[in-house]
Symmetry: C2
Subunit: 415 residues, 2 copies
């Protein structure tokens, strides 16, 4: 019997014989299905579960009882009904198991603990940076150890870890290219963490995590074809199709940042010329601002003229929102270029919704409007009929929730 990652959870709780019988397989599957339905699909009464899982009410009752016995779920109340007895509602037990989420960035690292009710029990941002830090992993382990020690009653209830990280994550080897470039080792970050904590660990690209969060808990909830654009220090595209993260053959899908948009453009750090990243990312925005100021552009931001290194994105967005024409123009242009790039993704994926995430999403309408304008200009009309473009409401939490949902799904998913 192969012990795949998705088998972790229930194996310890359900009697598993040396050779699993068909009955046990089915039973396990159904129990996972119940948990999955309760967690993701808001099916929380016996009747709903019975319908959704094509099983009789007595059977589901028995399985639900087992899950209650095993502390996975518990009766949380009663549903409202127009008449008749109110059905009992079952919910995931929030206090039995926790998932630890690590949001690793180039500029900081966030560590969060979530319960299975999708509540952030604890969250801490550390200034631990991924770049140029050879002892990154040791420091990370120390930080996590401390938190687990203090916040999760000696860690005996953490059942899995989820890691969000920028850059390509190879689905087959688990190798992350950001971490790899850091210490030039062909090792899987996930495996390293998994070995250290002896817990199932799932690594996911940051933009994919964000998209998944938007799908499960944000404005994209329930939409079948979702794009989330992570406008950050690079451009990341997360794609969720029919509730599943779209990975591509190796896990690299959605690499919008390195399509060529300007053959005569500047050299990108990927080695190619004129990538979208070189034009529309937050870094290129700051560069444009600084260049403009140096060239004597009139702007509120003039006050930074002699200390350009102090300008950051918040300052620029703030100036734009207060009406500074120069800042508005720069953001507008970036939006137009990004929208042009996105219109290709629209033609290829035909999405229902595009959600703007990442630092630049703070610019709200100032960034959405030009994006929308460009999409109107470059997309065939049929593609726009069912398409909406929205600013994220979850903001940076989208990523955390997304990683968490990814972990829970990986643990519960019926093969």
């Amino acid at each position: 019997m192969s012990t795949s990652k998705t088998e972790y959870i229930l194996e310890n709780d359900v009697e598993v014989n040396s050779r699993e019988s068909v009955v046990d397989i089915k039973k396990n599957k159904q129990k996972k299905g119940i948990l999955y339905d309760i967690y993701f699909n808001d099916k929380n009464t016996i009747a709903e579960l019975s319908q959704s899982l094509n099983s009789s009410i007595p059977s589901i009752t028995a399985l639900v009882d087992e899950l209650v016995e095993e502390k996975w779920i518990s009766e949380t109340g009663f549903a409202i009904s127009r008449q008749g007895r109110r059905p009992a509602i079952y919910g995931v037990n929030p206090n039995k198991n926790y998932v630890l989420v690590l949001d690793i960035n180039t500029h900081d690292t966030r560590i969060a603990v979530l319960n299975l009710k999708n509540e952030i029990v604890f969250s801490q941002v550390s200034d631990l940076q991924l770049k140029n830090n050879p002892s990154f992993l040791e420091t990370l382990f120390q930080l996590v150890d401390n938190i687990v020690e203090q916040k999760v009653s000696k860690g005996k209830d953490v059942i899995a870890l989820g890691v969000s990280i920028p850059g390509l994550v190879n689905k087959k080897t688990g190798i992350n290219y950001t971490y790899k470039s850091l210490n030039s080792q062909d090792v899987s970050l996930g495996k390293l963490i998994e070995n250290y904590y002896n817990l199932p660990t799932f690594v996911i690209n940051d933009s994919k995590a964000t998209a998944f969060g938007e799908y499960h808990f944000g404005l994209a909830k329930g939409k079948s074809h979702v794009l989330s654009v992570n406008v950050d220090w690079g451009i990341g595209l997360g794609i969720v199709i029919n509730g599943e993260i779209f990975d591509g053959a190796s896990g690299f899908a959605g690499e919008l940042g390195h399509i060529q948009v300007n053959p005569d453009g500047v050299l990108c750090n990927c080695g190619k010329v004129g990538c979208l990243d070189t034009i529309t990312s937050a870094s290129s925005l700051l560069k444009n601002i600084k260049d403009g100021l140096r060239n004597g552009h009139v702007s509120k931001l003039d006050e930074y003229k002699d200390s350009l290194e102090n300008i950051n994105l918040e300052i620029v967005i703030d100036a734009a929102q207060k009406g500074d024409g120069f800042a508005i123009d720069i953001i507008h242009n970036i939006g137009l270029e990004l929208g042009k790039g996105l219109s290709i993704a629209v033609h290829l994926f035909n999405p229902q919704i595009i959600i703007i995430d990442g630092v630049l999403s703070k610019a709200q309408k100032l960034i959405v409007n030009p994006i929308e304008h460009a999409i109107n200009k470059y997309c065939l009309t049929d593609f726009k009929e069912d398409l909406s473009i929205e600013i994220s409401q979850l903001s940076e939490d989208a990523k955390i929730f997304g990683v968490h949902a990814y972990v829970v799904e990986a643990l519960l998913k019926t093969a």
Copy 2:
């Protein structure tokens, strides 16, 4: 009980009570699963089916017996075994049911009859053209009626129709934009055919059908992430992900032909400027050839200098394959541009294989090489590691097989 299209087949053969019991639902599902596995997955022994469907051998045996009884399948022989009794092999019954496939083009219409063993029983190409023909549908019905009359023993065994058509096909409304533009009616071509023949009818975009054919029966067989480029009078992209056609929210996904590649380009018939279609399609190839000859380019094709209207694609490709430098150059350039466009699709979909279909695929290496070159130039290296680019071996049959598989899948798919 809703009667969805996918329920058509087995409903008539399995006793269906007014309210379907859980057992019946499961039984029906399993019987569909068996047919599906036999048709698509080459699972054809009791043991294999038992494993694949998580059901005991006696249960599967009983269901298989029922399906044999109902003439869906039959014992076709015995498998080889290294030792012990040889298991019986079951195969789809080729002579019970037929699917009628209509491949509608702008230049001709092909009508094919296939049995459930995926064999083309009959095929006929008519010069019926979709464009500018108000009585298109009546003529089509007449053609089909004749064929059914003569070839399929009074049509009593045709169980479904599949239609391949160029242009966008709206998944929700069933409206095809090519047929719509023809007679400016907001009607679903599929519904019209379905009503006329009173048979389930499935309409699918031609490039999607081709991709599906390549996935099930061509070089892309078994690959999880497949792109098929239909280089025809326009550029069509068919996408198959994990064995399913990727449709997008409205069915429009894969519209590669109308991404802008040249802001200063010519007007496209879609109304936008500089679309990939205007540069890389077969029509633009012919235009380039003719322009070149008019401008006095030296070439074997000179002989057509005074009768340019007689030049067609076959002639050009033939000249190129015989070494004509001018024809080779033109094809090469188109390949480069197409490859550049495709590299965007590679970044977004991260496919394992790209198959070149359509009329231009006849140019073999002359078109593949520049495509490959461009992808090497514009794609990040990680994307190329598991990627292969191939010329279709199925040629025009890919589309027919693809439509057929699409119909069978739609009929059999377990909800």
